[in-house]
Amino acid sequence: MTKALGLLVALFALWLALSGYFKAFLLAVGFLSCLFTVFLARRMKLLDDEAVPLQLRLTLPLYWSWLGGEIFKSAWAVSKIILSRNIALSQQLIAVESPLKTDMGHVIFANSITLTPGTVTVEAAPGKFLVHALTDEAAGAEAFGEMARRVAAVETR
């Protein structure tokens, strides 16, 4: 129920953001639409921690800003490779342990890895990721450790 309510509120906020009209009719329709969507979400069995991540801490934006910095750095690194005269790659597929407890955490972690250019999550298995890295530098183990820690700080269980 909380999930449903939470989703409803979030969706209605989305509606307002999209709409920008505050006519009675549109608000009513918007509310109904959101209700309908929640109904459908229930039918689809979507109402769980994953679809409605109420459990995440509010430190998420902080994490994102950190991540933004990381992305910038690694993007810069990859750009240098692209622009270098001889492209020198040392591609590798490495296994990365994921210390996280929830699927949501896993996903945030995995996506963060992908988001940072130079590394891509290739396959997800319980507790582990297979990551493709472009260079040795990107494959450095400490980078992942730092990231995992920060993701863990966001997720709760």
Partner: protein
Amino acid sequence: MEHHSILRVVSKLLIPPMLVYALYVQFHGEYSPGGGFQAGVVFAAAFVLYSLVHGIDALTRVAPPRVLHALAGLGVLIFAGTGVVTMALGDAYLGYYALAEHPQHAQEWGIVVVEFGVGMTVASVMLSLFIAFASHTRKLDDKDW
């Protein structure tokens, strides 16, 4: 792809906003680009995403084909029926002015209802098409023929 946690989570996150977005497009057709058809397509796309991640059987549980077919027909009937109603009220076919006292409201009402019919039909048709194609598995192989 059930086991595929990343996709599953992302799709779950994405589907409700997509649906709301579709409905937004549906009901703001008068104010911004969009309308029934586009909304229907996006709406269907959300379901398609669901089916891609959770499998077609899950989709048919949520949206049984029979219901979809009925809804597709219903959408047409809503549109065409609006015309019949205005006709019965003494205006021409699809002459919305008969729907309300205030002419502009009447038109707006008419458009909303009609677009709703369009959206309903398009969404359910697109989804039915997807289901029809996806669940029509191969019958015979080359050598068997």
